[in-house]
C-alpha cells in the first residue's frame, strides 16, 4: 500500500491508502475526494482531474505524458509548472507519501 495525501482548495486534507498501479485520479474517486471529477475515466479527453503535485514530489512524479500539456490548456483553474492530470500519475512504492493539491475548479 502507498500513502497518499490530497489537500483540497479549502485546505481539507485527506490521507488515504492506495494500491500501487492505481492512479492518483482513480484513488481520489474511490475515496470520494470532491476536488477530482475524472469525467472521462482517465482517457485523456478532459482536464477535470487536474492537480498540483507538491513541490517536494515533482522529481518523483516525473514529466507530463504525451498530450497532457494540450489537455491542461483547457483546465478550468490556473495551470502551474507543477500541474498534472492526476489520471496520468500511476502510483508505485516510489510515490509512498505523495502529496497533491487540488485546484478550486475542475469544470
Amino acid at each position: 500500500m502507498v500513502k497518499l495525501t490530497y489537500i483540497e482548495h479549502d485546505g481539507t486534507e485527506t490521507v488515504v491508502e492506495a494500491d500501487p498501479g492505481d492512479t492518483v485520479m482513480s484513488t481520489a474517486i474511490a475515496n470520494g475526494i470532491d476536488g477530482i471529477v475524472g469525467e472521462c475515466g482517465g482517457s485523456m479527453m478532459c482536464a477535470t482531474c487536474h492537480c498540483y503535485v507538491d513541490d517536494a514530489w515533482t522529481d518523483r512524479t516525473g514529466d507530463r505524458m504525451d498530450g497532457e500539456d494540450d489537455m491542461l490548456d483547457c483546465a478550468a483553474s490556473e495551470v502551474r509548472p507543477t500541474s498534472r492530470l492526476s489520471c496520468q500519475i500511476k502510483l508505485s512504492e516510489d510515490l509512498d507519501g505523495l502529496v497533491v493539491h487540488l485546484p478550486e475548479e475542475q469544470v
Binding site: S43, M45, D69, D70, M71, V107
Partner: protein, 392 residues
C-alpha cells in the same frame, strides 16, 4: 428552487452527474436516483476497451457506495420505473409512488436489434453484464463476427484482434463509422483495421445469424463461434411517451433541456435537443452530452435561470493504438479537408463544423476552443493559414 424534491430516472453517468451537480450547486431538497441495473453507477466507455482486457469491474464504478449517503443522494438501484403521473407529479416504481417537484429523465438507450433471421444468437455490448459475458468468451481462441462497423463494433474488434482472435466485421454501409466520420477518416481506419488483421466486409449487411456464423447479403458465409451485434442504439423513450411527453427520435427538449412538461427535463443519450449552432434537433450518444446536459439542468433547477445549453460536442474512440477524437458535430454531407495524416476538418456553409483527429490532442483541444465561440471559424480564414488550427 433549492428545496425541490428531485427524482432522476436513470443512474448512468448523466443521471449521476445531475445528482452530483445539484448538490455542488447548493441544492438542499431530497434527490432520488433510480437505476434499472443492479449496483453502483458505472462508466460504460471502458466496457468495449480496457475492461475487456483487464476484467476489473471495480475500476468502472463512478463513485463509491458511501458517497451517496454523504451527499444525501438516495440511490435506488435495480429498480424499474413503470410510469410517470404528471398530474399527481409522482413516479411509479415497484408499487410505490415517489413524489417529485422536478423530474430528470436520463433513461439512455438500448441496443437496436435489426430484423435479421436468428439475430437472438448474437450477443450485445451495452451493460457490464454484457461485457462480462463477452469477456468470458474471449479466454479461448475463437472466430468472431461483428455486425456493425461503428465505434462499439470496431473497439471490440480491435481488442479481440489484440488477444489473437480471428475477427470479421460486417458493415452494411460502404464505409466505417459513416454516420460520424468523413470518408477520408473512415478510409484511414479501414486501412488500420485491415493492417492489424481484421477482415472487413463493407457494403454488405448481414441477412442471417446461424449456429455456424453469419450470412452476408451477397451470400458469403462467415464462420464464427461468437457473433457480436453492434448495430447502433435506440433511445429509451417509452416512459416519456406513455406520460404524453413530446418524442422526436428521443425525448424532445427545448434549449433549456425541458421536455414539453416544464417540470420534467431530459438529458444525455435519450434527449433530442436543439443544436445550439444549427438549431436542428439532434441526439448525441456521448459522455460529453450526458455530463454537460446534467450540469446545465442542475444550474437551471438551483438558480432558476433559463440559460440555453450551448456546450461543444466531443467524442472519442480508442481502436488499437489510435485514439480518434472528434470536436464539434458534422453532418454526413459536410465538406472535408484532410490537413495531414492525423487531421480532417469538416465544413458546413464554409464554417468549421467539426475536427477529426487521430492521436493529436493538441489540435483536438484547440478545435474545442475554436468551436466554443458564437461564430465558428470561417473556411477562407483557416485556408489562409494552411488549415493549421494551432496557429489560429
Amino acid at each position: 428552487m433549492i428545496d425541490a424534491r428531485v427524482v432522476i430516472v436513470g443512474a448512468g453517468q448523466g443521471g449521476l452527474q445531475a445528482a452530483m451537480s445539484l448538490r455542488q450547486d447548493g441544492h438542499q431538497g431530497p434527490i432520488t436516483l433510480i437505476g434499472g441495473e443492479p449496483g453502483l453507477p458505472y462508466q460504460r466507455p471502458p466496457l468495449s476497451k480496457a475492461y475487456l482486457k483487464s476484467g476489473e469491474a471495480d475500476k468502472l464504478v463512478l463513485r463509491p457506495a458511501d458517497f451517496f449517503a454523504k451527499k444525501g443522494i438516495t440511490l435506488r438501484d435495480g429498480t424499474w420505473v413503470e410510469a410517470i403521473d404528471r398530474t399527481a407529479r409522482t413516479v411509479h416504481a415497484e408499487g410505490e409512488a415517489l413524489p417529485y417537484d422536478r423530474l430528470i429523465l436520463a433513461t439512455g438507450t438500448r441496443n437496436l436489434v435489426p430484423p435479421i433471421a436468428g439475430v437472438s444468437r448474437a450477443l450485445g455490448l451495452r451493460t457490464l453484464e454484457d461485457a462480462r459475458r463477452l469477456r468470458a468468451r474471449l479466454t479461448a481462441p475463437c472466430r468472431i463476427a461483428v455486425i456493425g462497423g461503428g465505434f462499439i463494433g470496431l473497439e471490440f474488434a480491435a481488442v479481440a484482434r489484440s488477444l489473437g482472435h480471428e475477427v470479421h466485421v460486417a458493415e452494411a454501409a460502404p464505409r466505417l463509422m459513416a454516420r460520424v466520420l468523413s470518408p477520408d477518416m473512415s478510409d484511414r481506419f479501414r486501412r488500420m483495421h485491415e493492417g492489424i488483421g481484421t477482415a472487413l466486409h463493407l457494403g454488405r449487411g448481414v441477412t442471417e445469424v446461424t449456429d455456424e456464423g453469419i450470412v452476408l447479403s451477397d451470400g458469403q458465409v462467415i464462420a464464427a463461434d461468437l457473433v457480436l451485434l453492434a448495430a447502433g442504439v435506440r433511445p429509451n423513450t417509452d416512459l416519456a411517451d406513455r406520460a404524453g411527453l413530446a418524442i422526436d427520435n428521443g425525448v424532445r427538449v427545448d434549449a433549456t433541456l425541458r421536455t414539453s412538461d416544464p417540470d420534467i427535463f431530459a438529458l444525455g443519450d435519450c434527449a433530442a435537443f436543439p443544436d445550439p449552432r444549427t438549431g436542428r434537433t439532434i441526439r448525441l450518444e456521448s459522455v460529453q452530452a450526458a455530463t454537460d446536459h446534467a450540469r446545465a439542468i442542475a444550474r437551471t433547477i438551483t438558480a432558476g435561470t433559463d440559460a440555453p445549453y450551448e456546450a461543444v460536442p466531443w467524442f472519442w474512440s480508442d481502436q488499437a493504438d489510435w485514439k480518434l477524437q472528434i470536436a464539434g458535430l458534422a453532418s454526413p454531407e459536410d465538406d472535408s479537408v484532410a490537413v495531414d495524416d492525423h487531421t480532417v476538418l469538416r465544413f458546413a456553409d464554409d464554417q468549421l463544423s467539426a475536427v477529426e483527429t487521430i492521436n493529436n490532442a493538441k489540435v483536438h483541444m484547440k478545435a474545442r476552443k475554436l468551436l466554443a465561440g458564437t461564430t465558428p471559424p470561417a473556411r477562407d480564414m483557416l485556408a489562409a493559414g494552411d488549415y493549421d488550427l494551432t496557429s489560429v
